[in-house]
Subunit: 328 residues, 2 copies
């Protein structure tokens, strides 16, 4: 028995670290090693709808930082009110993903950031037009120069800055993380029972790591096939391998209370529905109503500190700025 107070404290700390290490989900760390100047510039770009053909759609339109980094729609609304093919994944904690997009077709945030700008169904712009637009505004020209230490704007810098901003969008300090870090009162009995069920049922086989997902691709519909009208085929669109059909990146469960609706097609409107479907299709397990409610209670403890920053003020256009084309 350890009686020395210091030894006791060390023992407790080591036990606590072992407890963390033993859990399949680990705490989210606050943002580190951020180039703040790049991130501040990236924040402006993230909120700037002039990077779309219409002048109306920004990154924040579909990855709304007031709403869990999503649009809370089954599939997104793109240029000219086009219906998107897939549910917008949250940008929160996306720096922790193994790759970006549901099918992982972008290696990292920087590569991802260029996609929607040039996607005809989303922002419907081009990289060339985006750069010309930014070059027409002294506010941006000067900030790019200050941030990158050289003249000139190109799409590489644009996506680099957006990615740097997105790296700041981590959400530490959720009740579950507080529990992981040793505050045993941070979770209720039901929430803790939900976590135990979540682990014991095998959910953590895919939803693990600090993002509780995002780090592997898995088949949607392992035990039973998933029926969907969505045309998305997942990872096979990238690898060309038939074996990868319906393999999607496992979504993070961080802030999942805020990122409804669920799945790549957004067809599960509630967490209750999502947990039920996941249990049956992925694990061959039918959760009772009580079990489902406990797992949902646990999932809601994954909501962390949301991004906290001042709404950016964008540099005004000038007489040389190309006009938006919302209706033609």
């Amino acid at each position: 028995m350890v009686r020395n107070p210091l030894a006791l404290a060390v023992f407790a700390a080591v036990s606590s670290m072992q407890a963390i290490a033993a859990e399949p989900i680990t705490p989210i760390r606050p943002a580190q090693e951020i180039n703040l100047a790049q991130a501040e510039l990236g924040k402006k770009l993230y909120f700037d709808p002039r990077l779309s053909r219409s002048g109306f759609i920004s990154c924040n339109s579909c990855h709304n930082l007031s709403m869990g980094g999503t649009d809370n729609l089954k599939t997104s609304i793109g240029h000219n009110w086009q219906k998107g093919p897939i549910n917008a994944p949250t940008v929160l904690n996306s720096s922790l993903n193994v790759a970006q997009f549901w099918d992982g077709r972008a290696a990292d945030l920087k590569e991802q950031a260029g996609g929607p700008i040039a996607n005809p169904g989303e922002m419907a712009f081009t990289h060339t037009l985006a750069v010309s637009l930014l070059e027409s505004m002294p506010g941006y020209v000067n900030e790019f120069k200050l941030v990158y230490g050289e003249d000139g704007i190109d799409i590489d810098k644009v996506t680099d800055a957006i990615a740097e901003f997105e790296k700041t969008l981590v959400t530490p300090n959720s009740p579950f993380d507080q529990w992981l870090l040793g505050d045993k009162d941070a979770l209720t009995v039901d929430e803790l029972a939900g976590y135990k069920l979540f682990k014991d049922s095998g959910c953590t086989a895919c939803h693990n790591g600090s993002a509780a997902g995002g780090n592997t691709f898995q088949k949607m519909g392992i035990v039973e096939p998933y029926k969907s009208t969505s045309p998305a085929e997942g990872r096979s669109a990238v690898t060309g391998k038939d074996a990868d059909r319906f393999n999607f990146k496992v979504p993070t469960l961080r802030n999942v209370e805020m990122t409804y609706p669920y799945f790549h097609d957004g067809e599960a409107e509630t967490l209750t529905e999502a947990v039920d479907i996941m249990g049956r299709l992925q694990l061959g397990k039918k959760f009772s109503d009580q079990e489902n409610a406990q797992i949902v209670a646990f999932l809601k403890t994954l909501t962390g500190d949301q991004p906290n920053f001042a709404l950016p003020i964008l540099p005004p256009s000038t007489d040389k700025t190309p006009q938006p084309h919302p209706f033609d």
Copy 2:
């Protein structure tokens, strides 16, 4: 001659106040007498796209506080990408307006706030649905109760809170206001020459007061008729009087560098163009290129401190929250 230092100071202060009083444009005052709790709630509502049928359009979509409180489009994009009939006026300093909308059909901000929510061409929702939606979220239910000191949400409280937030959106401290307040170095020679031209040419007949506009209705096209394809007829739509045809609320010139494009139809893309047209049609005066440039230089000194606040985080929907209908 006054030799006593105190008397001198008093004399200087009185002179300075007389100078301010003598100018047709007066300084914007910072927000005062704000119910902060209401304003904070109103900020959430202002940013909440769930108050639209699609779940995609919020007040901030068309009155974007990153962009001078406008969308910088000729006419706005509404539900299902409908083309709006008129240019979105800035929400900045709108508390100083004599009435709201270009035709003044709403007496105040509170009455205005209900308009776009229920307009089929804009947010395409109904007040009843908006209230039901808010009532489904404990985050909102509790905040309304705390703010208003009683149970229940109704459209009256919703628009009241939005209006209170909008009252905070004043933009004091522009270079021109610094000049008005006595800093004679706040304007360049050209800017000051532009202001003198602006006054001497008669622009201040309509663009006066602390908002440099917004306080009267005036005919668009006094000396020469204004040609527009816009169906908007202005004040006559409210009064029913033929004499009020093409009478519009004089827009504020505060932050006008940020609120492009100009006029009720948004047809003037640049300040240069707007100044030229205003001179000819309203005053029968053709400004030289130099005069135009000086007036534009003056107008750009009307950009004040932009709203500075943290992006609000919205309460998540619940299983009871009505689903958005973006595509049906």
